[in-house]
């Protein structure tokens, strides 16, 4: 496999001080009352989370990843570019990955400008993703889910024109008209920062990544599904004349390392449980606003929702999803196995899981930095050398 091994640390920055009766709310998204947000505790959380992101670089991660969600305790990053701007001066080498602001939720020229600002401010460390945005974002924002995909394509087209054409130029689209498309500043990286699509695997999104030659990361899908998507993506990209490079396929893994397997499970499971049962909890209606999914996709998901019914079972979730909880040796082995299957050497670790306290996140980051990252790197280099000889 070509290219260097890469480790990212992804943070969701959840608001974790939920009311005792939070289980009474069918969704922690869209309509979960914002009276439960206490800005004083928000201060502590922002400071803490920023520290964790900065620590990741110090212990050996190559990149930090932030993203955008609205109306939810799941994430305090309604505007991830603000977080990126706060991280840039406190880091030196780490890639700053904004994965990302859904282009549909901002004017495309402005998003092109913001990303260009971050790229210049960080001396070319920015990477971006163009998500469609979850169904929930369309309940929270004044944009129609029924035209989301068409608008998404047009927005990306405008952003790429902002970055590649010398301005002033013009754009006359279905959704946006620009009489003077001439954004300042322009990106530091040429032609523009590495781009990804992130998605939960709908065919339309895969096709978009394949056509644009962007990286693709499937998120919140099972292992089986991720492998399937991976195959489809490679095939579709090849049909479009693109060869997917391993680093373009970040593999998202919930990761927790401790001294023993028992200890790792004991320390992590309650937070993984919180992540699946609470942070991600929402309704089918919020997940799939009208027109957001194809009817076939909606039916597929409705059938699946029934199967998943039955509450949290760590063994089942651990088996089905990319979850590596154990000793450093075990985690190294799992990452290598999954990376091999997925044809990637780019690991995006969810190492601050759900409502995990600060000490566990820091301990986890240090153990990953000390015992996992160097070993995966060394073994990849050794393999590469053997292959070369």
């Amino acid at each position: 496999m070509s290219g260097a091994v890469r480790f990212d640390f992804m943070h969701f920055m959840p608001y974790i001080h939920l009311p005792e009766n939070q289980k009474d709310f069918p969704s922690l998204w869209v309509d979960f009352p914002n009276k439960f947000y206490d800005p004083k505790r928000g201060v502590e959380l922002y400071q803490r989370y920023l520290t964790e992101l900065i620590t990741a670089e110090k212990v050996g991660f190559d990149a930090v990843v932030v993203n955008e969600h609205h109306n939810t305790a799941y994430s305090m990053m309604a505007a991830p570019n603000l977080i990126a701007a706060a991280i840039i001066p406190q880091t030196k080498k780490a890639k700053i990955c904004v994965w990302g602001t859904p282009p549909n939720l901002e004017y495309p020229n402005r998003l092109a400008e913001e990303y260009a600002m971050l790229d210049v401010m960080s001396e070319g460390r920015l990477e971006v993703a163009f998500p469609l945005g979850t169904g929930m974002e369309y309940w929270a924002n004044p944009i129609s889910p029924a035209t989301a995909r068409a608008r998404h394509r047009e927005s990306i087209d405008i952003i790429l024109k902002c970055w590649t054409l010398d301005g002033p130029t013009t754009y006359y689209g279905d959704f946006y008209t620009y009489r003077y498309l001439n954004p300042w500043p322009r990106p530091y990286q040429k032609p523009y920062p590495p781009c990804y699509i992130v998605g939960t695997g709908s065919q339309e999104t895969i096709d978009l990544a394949a056509q644009l030659g962007f990286g693709y990361s499937s998120v919140f899908v099972t292992k089986e599904r991720a492998l399937e998507l991976n195959q489809t993506l490679r095939k579709r990209a090849a049909e479009n004349g693109h060869h997917m490079r391993p680093e373009q396929l970040p593999l998202q893994v919930i990761t927790y390392v401790a001294e023993t397997k028992e200890k790792a499970e004991q320390e992590a499971i309650e937070h993984i449980r919180f992540f699946f049962e609470d942070a991600l909890r929402t309704t089918p209606t919020f997940l799939g606003p009208p027109g957001y999914l194809s009817v076939a996709e909606l039916k597929k998901r409705a059938a699946l929702a029934d199967k998943l019914h039955g509450g949290f079972n760590f063994d089942a979730i651990n088996e089905a999803w990319f979850i590596a909880v154990g000793t450093a040796d075990q985690v190294v082995e799992q990452l290598e196995e999954w990376g091999g299957k997925m044809g990637t050497n780019h690991y995006n670790l969810l190492a601050a899981i759900g409502n995990m306290p600060h000490w566990k996140v820091v301990k986890n980051l240090h153990l990953i930095g000390q015992d996992v990252i160097p070993r995966v790197r060394a073994r990849a280099t050794a393999k590469h050398r053997v292959a070369a000889e």
């Binding site: 129609s144 209606t285 799939g288 606003p289």
Partner: protein, 274 residues
Amino acid sequence: MPAQSFPAPYKRETVNVNGLKTTVYSAGRGEPLVFFHGAGIWHGASFALPWADKFRLIFPIHPGLDEADDDPAMNSAHDYVIHYLDLFDALGLEKIRLVGFSLGGWLAANLAVHQGHRVERLVLVGPAGLRGKEMPKGDLFLLPPEQLPSLLVSNFDTIKPYLPDNPKDLDFIGARYREGGTLARLWWEKPYDTKLPRYLHRLTMPTLLIWGEDDKILPMQNAELWRQAIPKLQFQTFKRAGHMVLDESRDAVNAVQKFLSQGSALSRHTGNVR
């Protein structure tokens, strides 16, 4: 098995309307009566059959709903008005009586605003599309899907025969989701038509507005908006009927029939104006 939506004597045909295959049901003979249905037609069309005794009842299925083909580019009332003018041309319809329910009421009002000379008589049944003072009541996207059937009617037994035995029937769920998507193209960004009130003064043909007194989808206060905007408007309400007033009240069906029969060629010839 759910009840049949379009039982005999309905006949089904497919009409090519400017490239879009459009399903049209019809029954009866006489002067043409066009019915524009609401945002779903799974509850069936049996309620309209009494009209087929006197009229040639024409019941087109809106593009993007139920079994009809879709055209994702249709995203405004104007698109539907043009679609139906094309259909009327294809069917050789010149003057019509027009009845529209809910979403179909909004479409009927729009069509009549533009082509008033073709619409001899107009009936608006619990029409959607105006911004009520009770918003968000009337915003269809806020209705919980699982509660929707019971909110549509005063008496649940009215529509029970049309619902699948299994509430998790994937085909039924998929079909309802498709309707939602079609509706979202029209009403997601603005769940009402802010321009229509400016144009409603053009509805100078005899017009009847009817409403179910137990309407839980579009509260009856919405009727005031239409009454204020349409100069000559007859207004009737029906007890023990919800949003689906025609499905629930035979009196409402009869009232429509009576109103539409006035001024018809038949009644003109016989002088039988009631």
